[in-house]
């Protein structure tokens, strides 16, 4: 899993590339927290366009991102989730809480 970030028009975008499982999930959560804290971001976007595998750990990452931004009075969204990742998210009915683009 490769994690990069970009501060774009006031929105912190975290780009994930590779496989997102339990082994990678904590690292992604820490990166989201660190970047949002460091830049005092009120908008966070998780770009999953290059994630080629995801299990339920991705659900935990999404829930944490959503919760973290809600606590800060900010916004959270997920961009470019692939069809398979969406099937995993849908199993948890997460699109009711988290915004997808």
């Amino acid at each position: 899993m490769k994690i990069t970030h970009e501060n774009k028009d006031g929105e912190m975008i975290i780009y994930l590339s590779g496989e997102l499982g339990h082994h990678e999930a904590l690292k992604v959560m820490h990166e989201m927290e660190d970047m949002v804290d460091f830049h005092s971001s009120l908008k966070l976007c998780l770009d999953m366009g290059d994630v080629n595998f995801m299990d339920s750990s991705g659900i935990a990452v999404a829930v944490n991102g959503h919760r973290m931004m809600a606590q800060r009075g900010g916004q959270f969204r997920i961009a470019h989730a692939q069809a398979h990742a969406m099937r995993v998210f849908d199993a948890a009915g997460i699109s009711k809480t988290v915004k997808f683009f």
């Binding site: 496989e19 499982g21 339990h22 082994h23 999930a25 904590l26 959560m29 595998f53 995801m54 299990d55 339920s56 750990s57 659900i59 935990a60 990452v61 829930v63 944490n64 069809a83 398979h84 099937r87 995993v88 199993a91 948890a92």
Partner: protein
Amino acid sequence: MREVLNEMSIRFKSRSANENFARAAAAAFAAQLDPTVEELADIKTAVSEAVTNCVVHAYPNTVGNIFMTAKIYAGSIFEIKVRDTGEGIADVRKAREPLFTTGGRERSGMGFTIMENFMDKLKVVSKTGKGTTVTMEKKISVRCGGNKK
């Protein structure tokens, strides 16, 4: 008894780095059934959930052995068994409920639900102090032109 056409078995340590290895190995073995991209992703995801459960819950403060056996039965049936000799699950019914977890914040409580949704059959047998065996089965669709043997 159903006819077993092929079988493989591996043992690996309950290190989180092996989650990736386990799902890749299961997918590589299942590939001979010529599954669709979606079917293969389903298998990888279900195996990932089962193995992660072993890493997180079966051996919480130690590193133990995980045994994985895959079988192919006549009729394009893929079966995967993930077994540990760890702590076991006290209440399997509770553990299988969506969103129930005793794991950390990196867990969602959706593991068994995903296994159930993405595979055709899921069986969980567990004994406290003895370990857990998860058996899953999926029928791989036979496509136009016939699947490779």
